[in-house]
């Protein structure tokens, strides 16, 4: 009957049909739902406010880049591409930005109730993912209003989103765990995040980048995801991620980076987890 408590000691025998993975997912999901509830049901305008942020950013960038510097004028469906880019980026930036301090911020919880710490950054990311889902509905609405009809290729968005969620979850966990020993991770990540914003085709599209730099930028998994999403959802004439990278084989590079980040976050978490609670 008795089970050996693992190094971290949470193993408990007698958990009938309720193993640790299920508990992990349930906890992550429940925390995310509650957080979402707090954020958006607190006030009537809750969701509208959260939608305002990407829309405002979109509005400003749109005005600046089409009317002031006249950058987007020659790009088909530039406003839609800009909006999609912003929505996807906002998800990544928001989730990772909030994840950084998430473990330390919930010190009391982690020191007093035994549960896997990774639940925390992942639930933060999931809350942002719910938000992303809603925002994507708005994007699709805009797409339809612009006269672009639904196509089977839209289904390709799903694997792209899975990829984006994977990158985000990996980076979130990595940052949250690193923040425990390195409390200056927060400003560091802000800077890196800024660099990523400009290094990712969000306000520009990849075809305007000179070849050479273009292939380099396309190694960024976020760039590949956003460009492919634009290709399938908005403008089939825009280069696919494969085309922009200079061949489908080269897509293995961003994929490998995703795998690397995922692996690094899993390994770091595995190593730090046993002593995480006492180091908070």
């Amino acid at each position: 009957m008795s089970a050996q408590a693992s190094a971290t000691g949470t193993t408990i025998a007698g958990l009938h049909s309720d193993d640790r993975a299920v508990r992990f997912l349930r906890l992550t999901f429940s925390l995310a739902v509650m957080e979402f509830k707090i954020r958006y049901f607190g006030s009537v305008l809750g969701y509208l406010w959260s939608l305002m942020r990407p829309l405002m950013l979109f509005g400003v960038l749109y005005v600046v880049f089409t009317h002031v510097v006249r950058f987007g004028g020659g790009i088909t469906h530039y406003p839609l591409k800009l909006l999609l880019g912003i929505v996807l980026w906002t998800y990544f930036a928001e989730a990772t930005g909030q994840a950084v301090q998430s473990l330390v911020a919930r010190e009391a919880l982690l020191r007093k109730i035994p549960f896997p710490p990774a639940v925390i950054p992942l639930s933060v990311g999931l809350t942002s993912a719910f938000n992303l889902g809603l925002n994507l509905c708005v994007v699709i609405l805009f797409v339809l209003v612009s006269g672009i009809g639904p196509a089977w290729s839209w289904l390709e968005l799903l694997p792209l989103l899975v990829l984006l969620l994977t990158v985000t979850a990996s980076v979130s966990t990595l940052l949250a765990v690193l923040y425990v020993p390195f409390r200056d991770m927060s400003p560091i990540w802000e800077v890196v995040s800024q660099l990523l914003f400009w290094g990712t085709p969000i306000i520009y599209v990849i075809e305007t980048v000179p070849s050479g730099a273009r292939e380099l930028l396309m190694m960024n998994p976020l760039a590949a995801t956003i460009e492919q999403a634009r290709h399938v959802l908005i403008d089939p004439s825009a280069p696919s991620a494969a085309a922009a990278s200079g061949g489908a084989v080269r897509l293995l590079i961003p994929l490998a980076i995703v795998g690397l980040v995922l692996g690094a976050s899993l390994e770091l978490y595995r190593r730090m987890r046993p002593t995480l609670a006492e180091r908070l």
């Binding site: 089970a3 408590a5 000691g9 408990i12 025998a13 958990l15 925390l31 509650m34 020191r111």
Partner: protein, 417 residues
Amino acid sequence: MAAKRRDNATRPAIVVDRVSKQFRVPQERYFTLKERVLHGFRRTRFEPLEGLHEVSFNVHAGEFLGVVGRNGSGKSTLLKCIAGIYRVDRGDIRIAGRMSTFIELGVGFNPELAARDNIILNAILHGLTRRDAAARVDEVIEFAGLEEFTELKLKNYSSGMYVRLAFAVMVQIDAEIILIDEVLAVGDAAFQQKCYQEFDRMRDDGRTILFVSHDMNAVNRFCDRAVLLERGEVIAMGKPSDVTGEYLAVNFKRERGADATELIGTLRDRAAYVADAWIEDEGGSRREYLEQGRSYVCKARVEFNEDLEDPSFGLAIESARGPTVFTTSSGWAGQHPGSFRAGEHVVFAVAFDNPLAAGRYYVNAQLEILEGPQAGVVDRRDRATAFVVTGTDAEGSLVSIPHDFTFQRVAAQEVSS
């Protein structure tokens, strides 16, 4: 022998097997990457801080085990190791059964959520499925007596309501093994009574409970066995009354020891000094654990270095919460004990019926000359001894004054006229 038989008869629910845990407290802790880089080549020096040392014991299935010890003795660390929050350095902890840990009431509550959502979330945090959690909401609310406030956000709850809700969640999570750390020190007297009943019920249900507490009363009342930790080691294990007695002894020895070293240089210079003080019950045995309403004698031994004429013996009882509850002096009472010679030892005694409310008290003993050329304080010994009063009367106050209640119905007209 009895414990051994039990070992064979019942399976252990928790086995703690030679568990050691050290905290490495760095002398300088680097909290940022910048510091790490700047100081990277220096090795961080660690001071090992022993949390637990070779701790071993079993908790049988269905047993209520108390863990007592002073602050910093390792109680909470032990609990966190068993819960799996901290990793042990050496040794094994084995658990058989579904376990829930309650280190602090209300941890994980979100003030922005209503009671209903918080109950579900907390239950899930403690390992329940969503369906089980949802099914328990009504019971929890009923237990807490908060039926009218289910949709109210927790931030609008009074602290009493908050605590009731937290305790209700705890008792409704029916884990087989429950770890509890100091949760009884909450709520008003009526709610505490309810909590006690719940503890009895849990024990009768056959739950295995590991209960960390400072409240010796509660340990004596609920526990089948108790363990005493001191500096991370088990120094006593067995019957709760024995273990709590040992706890009090350890606790007060330390305080007296500190006083003695301070005083050692000055004592010999005085005309007389208070060498020792203690409390006895009516049977003449020393007590550090006093029951409310019973008779006790406070005694102090005074040693004389010089001849003294008619000294006055006094004592003051001071509550650990601050105020001095009582003072008396033989001089005030008009007593003249006569003269004492150098080298004499005198024990003076003050008999009293204990009206004090539950809590911790210190006795200050004093010897003074009230009149004449020698007038003044000869010796004063603060906190010469300490004791703990147990009981439930006058909870939250200092004394239980003898009193009676009467009720009389009064006609409404009489009141208004």
